[in-house]
């Protein structure tokens, strides 16, 4: 009776998650896949650690179930590599090796749980329930953590002082319509929460545009969000005020997430309807947009989009047709009354990816020129 209850609970919980199953034994693959496909939204399979790593990078599954002893790359090697890309991903090991040394090694590399072979249905159900509940709980906790105001703590103040006293550099990060403008600068003075920096002229213009700046250093895990107190263009100096500490997303500061021009149109194709959207940003791997509709969406849903963008001015003006349709997968979804915000990942269609890449590069050039012209650079 309890088992049936747990299965039902698991069916509901797992239906919105995807899983990657890594196993070299074809027989076991077939057996376990039957079970997983009844529960999870999407099941990806790989035959060894190397394929598992590649599949992880491609599909970004929510959960990984993996064997340990495999050819080409072992389970432990694969997990280590995956954890470098995403330290938080949940991994369950399915292995005959349940000796204490293997268990300790697994714990040290951040494995969430262990299912011994031969696989027992009850054990699998309970383990999945536990791990998936953890994921759900973490998702709601993350919102809380980042909504709190963080104060610069003493240790980080000391690190900033250390950087200053040793004449080291910090990087200053700004953006113009999604184009990162980053350069290094020297701290001239630190007074309580004020930092005086000497930086390049281009960076000064970017700070003036955003009226803020983010300070980043490889010595500090966090970044510091700063507001602008004053700018002295003649001396290439800016006085910033430390506002908030935050953990940047994988410190992926070079990523381009560009605003598009108004001629760039995006439609969601649904049955025979074409729904208009408002694009928030586009990058080489994803697109974020808003729309008003009563359709319901879920993470991992596949959508068909139609895009039309203006002729590329600088790179590859050989493209004649600028209207394309392609498929995407929902990666994030938020709803606020009728307003829905979706972030989607481009699927593996090479032609679409190539077009998007060319568009991004071209748009970046246009935006940076626009920035320079705007500030009479």
């Amino acid at each position: 009776m309890e088992n049936i209850e747990n299965i039902n609970k698991l069916k509901v919980l797992a239906s919105s998650f995807t899983i990657l199953f890594v196993e070299d034994s074809k027989a076991l693959q077939k057996q376990v896949m039957k079970f997983l496909e009844k529960l999870f939204k999407e099941v990806y399979v790989a035959n060894n650690g190397q394929e598992g790593l590649e599949s992880f990078q491609k599909y970004k599954p929510d959960l990984i179930l993996t064997d340990l002893t495999m050819p080409v790359m072992t389970g432990h090697e694969m997990i280590r590599a995956i954890k470098k890309l995403d330290a938080d991903v949940e991994v369950i090991i399915l292995s005959a090796h349940s000796d204490s040394e293997t268990l300790m090694k697994s714990l040290h590399i951040g494995v969430s749980d262990f299912i011994p072979k031969p696989a027992n249905a009850t054990k699998m159900i309970l383990t999945f329930l536990k791990v998936l509940s953890n994921i759900k709980r973490k998702e709601s906790q993350i919102v809380d953590i980042f909504s709190k105001e963080d104060v610069i703590n003493k240790e980080d103040e000391e690190i900033l002082d250390f950087i200053f006293e040793n004449s080291m550099e910090v990087d200053i990060i700004n953006h113009y319509k999604g184009v990162p403008i980053i350069s290094s600068g020297k701290i001239l003075e630190i007074n309580d929460d004020k930092i005086l920096l000497k930086i390049s002229h281009l960076q000064l213009l970017a700070i003036e545009h955003e009226n803020s700046a983010i300070l980043d250093s490889s010595l500090i895990a966090e970044d510091i969000n700063c507001s602008v107190e004053s700018i002295n263009v003649d001396k290439y100096q800016v006085n910033l005020k430390k506002e908030k500490l935050f953990y940047p997303e994988l410190k992926n500061r070079d990523e381009l997430k560009l605003e598009v021009e108004k001629e760039f149109k995006l439609f969601l194709l649904n049955k025979n309807n074409k729904l208009g959207t408002k694009i928030i940003y586009i990058s080489e791997k994803e697109l974020s947009f808003e729309l008003n509709s009563d359709l319901s969406f879920h993470k991992h849903d596949k959508l068909e989009l139609e895009v039309s963008f203006p002729p590329l001015e600088i790179i590859n003006n050989e493209i004649k047709e600028n209207i394309f349709t392609f498929f995407v997968t929902i990666y994030k979804y938020e709803k606020d009354n009728e307003r829905q915000k979706l972030t989607v990942l481009f699927n593996e269609d090479i032609i679409t990816r190539e077009l998007i890449r060319k568009y991004i590069y071209n748009r970046e050039i246009v935006l940076l020129d626009e920035f320079k012209n705007r500030y009479n650079y």
């Binding site: 550099e169 990087d171 184009v179 990162p180 403008i181 980053i182 350069s183 290094s184 600068g185 020297k186 000497k198 930086i199 390049s200 002229h201 281009l202 263009v233 003649d234 001396k235 290439y236 070079d254 381009l256 600088i314 790179i315 590859n316 003006n317 050989e318 890449r357 060319k358 590069y361 970046e364 050039i365 940076l368 020129d369 320079k372 012209n373 650079y377």
Partner: protein, 271 residues
Amino acid sequence: MLNIENEIKNLPFVSSLIKDLKALNHNNTYDNKKLEKIIESNSLLRTSFLKLANSKLFGFESSVDTVSRAINLYGINFSLSFCLSKALISTLRVHLKSYESSFEQLDYLNELSCFLLFKWFGEDEIDLQERLTFPLLVHCLGEFIISLYVQTNNKQTVFLSLLNEGHDLPYCERKICSYSSSEISSRILENWGFSKDECEKIFYIDSPSNSNYSSKDVYILNIIKDLCNIYSPLSKKNIELAFLKADNYSLDVKSLKNAIDISLKYFNRGQ
């Protein structure tokens, strides 16, 4: 008069990007992949480099849409010189109003300079092309300082009158602030830790006959700088002077004429 010491003192420090590019240059072990990585990590370099590779004047026939392809086509030496010059220029406040010019025009004239250099001295003189690309692209740094000085001290009218009287640019610059732009550029680069060699080459661009240095290099730089000067590029007077100088310095006049003729076609189209 311009207080050069003060100006130098006010300059920003050299960024980590510039240091990384200089380090690539210094080692003489040219690493395409490293350069590609540096360029890809910086929006300014990436966009400037791809824009150049797709430009009508100094780009290629088919479109170039990756940094690695652009490096392969231009060669690592040129690519490095170009990116280093871009990084240096973006460090300073770009001010060219006193020359009645703009950043866009400067960009174009830098391209034109490279075009002239590569057309004048063909594939037989690759070493020379590689040696002179960097000085050609950075001798303009001093112009920003002079332009700002002229405007801040209300010397615009005097400056423009001198130019309109037909005096050459270095003469007018020295009259107003005691230094020519190349001399200031040289001081800037010296302050930023560039080699004595490079700095001297640039210092004497406006007065090549004073140079103890390799005269041919400095004379070539002098001629191209005059031809592509920020105030009156490819003017009839400067073209005639260029031929005269080339002849005096025993440089190839026929090849120079050919390079100028082709440049004029692009110049007239582009302006």
